[in-house]
Symmetry: D2
Subunit: 362 residues, 4 copies
């Protein structure tokens, strides 16, 4: 099978680097174009990038010339790690020009015809693309978003609990500094410190979660009707967002039932066969002091969500902790999984991957 | 004025060292006896202690011979930094033998005749000592406790809000490693990590806070009638406990009213004149990203509580953040302030400090 | 091919856990016996271990019953992660009883008939086993050690430079806390701190390096004749030891020559074909600010050594930085590589692995 | 006595904030003017500053209007915390206009007529101001620099050892992130990491130390004739620079002699009477694992230097560790001490402080 060429917007930033790293050795996609800021354009990727992940940038990409944000692209599939301001209006322009844009930017997430896709939780939201294309007059183009990185573990944990009626959610996060990009959080602000505030994230927690857990309704999403109260804090860790969740349920299952639902939870077909899908989306850890950010963030190669400490909440119904890797599951990894789903569902023109036996991780 | 000799139980541990440090240069008290484990007994304090605070142990104490836990003591006033197991039954024995014991140990905190004293919040609970002495047949002896270090900022913040009727409290903490003593938390457990669990602290948050905020009723305390849900986490910081608090109030003041109440809050007389009392017990920080653990833990020489981010909670009434220094305000410093209050209230036999102009900090 | 059953001594400790983790999925070896302290003996490994690495212990091992240190073992090959005191005399007893012991303990490292083996640097030291067996009357038994974890990057970096005559070595290390095992370094001792001392390591740096870089001489090793001055410090990082090295050379190559030698350096056959051998033992990073502990410790799956900042030293000849993963390359990983070499060289009785195509990493 | 009004250049930066903090309550000086970048000019200091130190900016300064860098100043004495580029040519202009500039910037440090003043080590270098004034035709103006923050502990430690003939110095530093200003080091670059490089600092270590330890020669400084080799690394701590030092001495005293010299070391009169002078400039800590960055950086209110681990070096003569607070002793605090010395030596026009009993710290 010939791999599909893809482009990465904002390729030199922290999340852009995660895209580059996760796409190395991808069985279906091959990074053919990297797009950067004006400062980077014209240089090779190796010259332009200040690599902040472990090791060094993949040799397959370092020689690519960085394109400017306004240059036209050859790749049908475009991943966007653009900062919010740069994403608007470039992402819409690219989709209008026929590209399928899978974006991590917050800009267009809440547009009514843009799916906020998390394949394990709401694979059917992909149907919104048909409405999107019809409404905007796009034929091959599309725009699909993934959520804020802190929302991700919350939605993953709650997906199997929707059946009980989720009435209230009280969320308090402990977020890694990589969530703020690079250079992002200054070391003097976070060493030996906790900051009780993350700009913009509380509002995203209180809205994006409801859209993602909502019901596909042909021309939009019927949001989950739940009251959410979020507090977001920044902690001195590199990667991994932990959220302490209190939830009020209309119908109350036992803790054993919930744990069983989490452990047995599987995404609908064909998601489990996608290359980036984790073997098991949710892991419940029985130890009283888990999940821990450093020790559990890489579960399922950073694509799984770890859960723990399920117990009654004296005020709402239950409380527990949920943890995901914020730049893998919560950003680039989710966008890639979304694109894989688009591919097998026929949204990437005539690109038809052979789905079998292509799992990246085992 | 001649200073009163005092003894420190558990003087070589992390909290014991804070007692030693805070009592250096105390205007009323002078450390005359240090009590340690069997391993330390007989050595000088300088030999026995592995000093974990900044700098080195005060010269005035390093030459003292460490007494064993069973040795009799000469000092009327005894501060206890004993671990839970060692505190029982030694603290009761010492009080029975006529000593006034101000303890940081959890052992006897919840006994119905032991005041859980926090002078700014419940100075009148000191009256419980009269009942205690009568009931146990003690004449000079007494046992006074201070709360768990994570409960402290919660009670400080809520003290001025009791008037509005506190119905529900949802608490999520971010706690420094010094809260676990020394050696306490292993570095491999906390570097680049958050642990979503602190053994025992959630239960303490859900009970001690209610006793402390309760009403003195002659022969006991009428607990505050409030539902509390607590989650405690450990973060990689040295000192300082931050708690994110959601509170439901029966009568709802404006945020401006609450902030004013916090800023104006003063302990009842004569507490503000005590040597260890902070100039202002509560500081509300208007910046959106405060209080921060490292930057605000030393407010009021570690005896003040910093508050911030007051805003409506979509589920309960309001939410905000509170921060105290856990080994000063939340442990040794509070015990010392308690002892100062005992002194001026006449509970330290005939020791009568000259209260005026002895403020340690300005 | 049937895998060889192996035993791990000290299997519940921090380095023991690394053995368990690295041996999962090993193409030649299979963990069949785990040996722990008296406290652990009789429990299953899953019950006994407090897992401090990422994730959870491998399912293939959690069900094994932990044996006591004195129980006899069935496995020919024994890996030892024992603490120093426990290793003596148990390791010698086991070798005497016919086991091949690959140890990470410091106890027997400097015995004249025990090879301090680092296959890339001194594979021929394996010949010392013949002398060892003859001298001690062992037929199948053997005892092979690997060096202290801080010595490892130094020896790796200097191996290709021996040809120039190494006269003097001045070493200053920055060591991760995992080097001290678990619980090891208390968080209060290392958060926001650097400790300018690591017990015992300076002396090991100044002796083990000379033995490892020495020449096999039939009945012992002729140590390298070099003056070494070492300073060891502890820094707040989880894994990875960085050493700043100043070296005086008798014959002075250019920096380009040295970098070329490092990049081209390959272990002698058959080492590069061993399952745990890194593709390239040494990487020279041209960036001015590398190697960095977090970003480079996992090079070559933690088995490679990263080098950087080669430049003239105004006092000795050159200076540079070297970095290895201390619990992989510097401990368990090296022991396993040593055992692989023993296997193909015929020192593991009649166990004959099929060497081709068994590389664990690519 | 009326306090002298002073100006602070670069007052909103990290070192500028230290000036503001240390000058609050200064017995001789009063901050009357704060100068910032174009972005800050016109705002009040409270509006302009993003305070990165503990607590909040002093109330006495928050109301001051921030002046632009080009505005004329009223204060005779000017402290400069300007970045290198901004310092040139502004500092020279201000001195030419009659101001006495005490600077922390690196720009003019190595000019032959600018003293690199460290009162405990080279108070007589102040005489260079006479030559400076004569040469440049200045009457009241002057320019005095303090050294790079990493050089400071080295020079402090070596000052009493000059008598033995210092031939060679091999230095390896572990530096706090505050040394890079704010935002400075990104958290993603330093959490769980060590960076083996600090831009520019190695060169400064190898030159500034020689000028500072040199001899005043009327029209310049005769540099110390010593070979220096420096390696600078960045570690995840907030404040405090630790340097491991190997030194070759021409005449070899015993370790006891050196320790005695360090403990007895006092600055020449009148330095010990200056308000910011530490009671004791050098502390030798006998514990094998000291000085430690977090525990010893605040010795002498951050103005003292802590020493430890003196032992023979197998290659040079001795090795030991030295530690100073980089933004107090190594930056703002030293500039203020320099200004105090200028005042009592008559270099601040007719400002004549009453020296007695004004020690800020006891």
């Amino acid at each position: 099978m010939q791999k599909l060429d893809v482009a990465v917007l904002g390729a030199t930033g922290a999340v852009g680097q995660r895209f580059i790293q996760l796409l190395e050795n991808h069985p279906w996609f091959r990074v053919a174009e990297v797009i950067g800021s004006e400062r980077s354009a014209g240089k090779t990727y190796g010259e332009a990038v200040h690599w902040v992940l472990d090791g060094t940038p993949p040799a397959s990409v370092t020689g690519l010339r960085v394109k400017g944000l306004d240059e036209s692209l050859d790749s049908l599939l475009v991943f966007s790690a653009l900062p919010k301001e740069a994403a608007d209006p470039r992402e819409i322009e690219l989709a209008t020009a026929g590209h399928v844009v899978c974006t991590n930017a917050g800009t267009n997430r809440m547009l009514e015809d843009v799916p906020l896709l998390l394949p394990e939780a709401n694979a059917d939201h992909i149907g919104l693309i048909d409405y999107q294309r019809q409404r905007r007059g796009w034929s091959t183009g599309a725009l699909v978003a993934n959520s804020n990185c802190t929302v991700m573990p919350v939605v993953m944990a709650l997906a199997p609990l929707r059946q009980f009626g989720i009435r209230k959610l009280l969320l308090v996060s402990s977020q890694a500094t990589s969530g703020a990009g690079y250079p992002g959080v200054a070391s003097l602000d976070i060493l030996d410190n906790v900051i009780p505030y993350v700009s913009g994230d509380e509002q995203k927690m209180e809205t994006e979660s409801l859209k993602m857990l909502g019901t596909f309704a042909g021309k939009g999403i019927d949001w989950l009707n739940t009251t959410v109260s979020a507090t977001c804090t920044r902690v001195p860790v590199v990667d991994g967002h932990l959220v302490n969740i209190s939830v009020e349920l209309e119908n109350v299952p036992s803790t054993e039932e919930i744990i069983q639902l989490w452990q047995d939870f599987r995404a609908p077909e064909p998601v489990p066969m996608l290359p980036s899908a984790p073997e098991q989306p949710l892991y419940y850890l029985p130890q009283v002091d888990r999940p821990q950010i450093r020790r559990d963030r890489n579960a399922g190669n950073g694509m799984a969500t770890s859960l723990g400490r399920l117990r009654p909440c004296p005020i709402l119904t239950y409380k527990f902790a949920a943890l995901s890797h914020n730049t893998i599951r919560g950003a680039a990894g989710c966008s890639i999984l979304n694109a894989e789903l688009l591919a097998v569902q026929g949204y990437l023109a005539n690109f038809q991957p052979a789905i079998a036996a292509d799992r990246m991780y085992s």
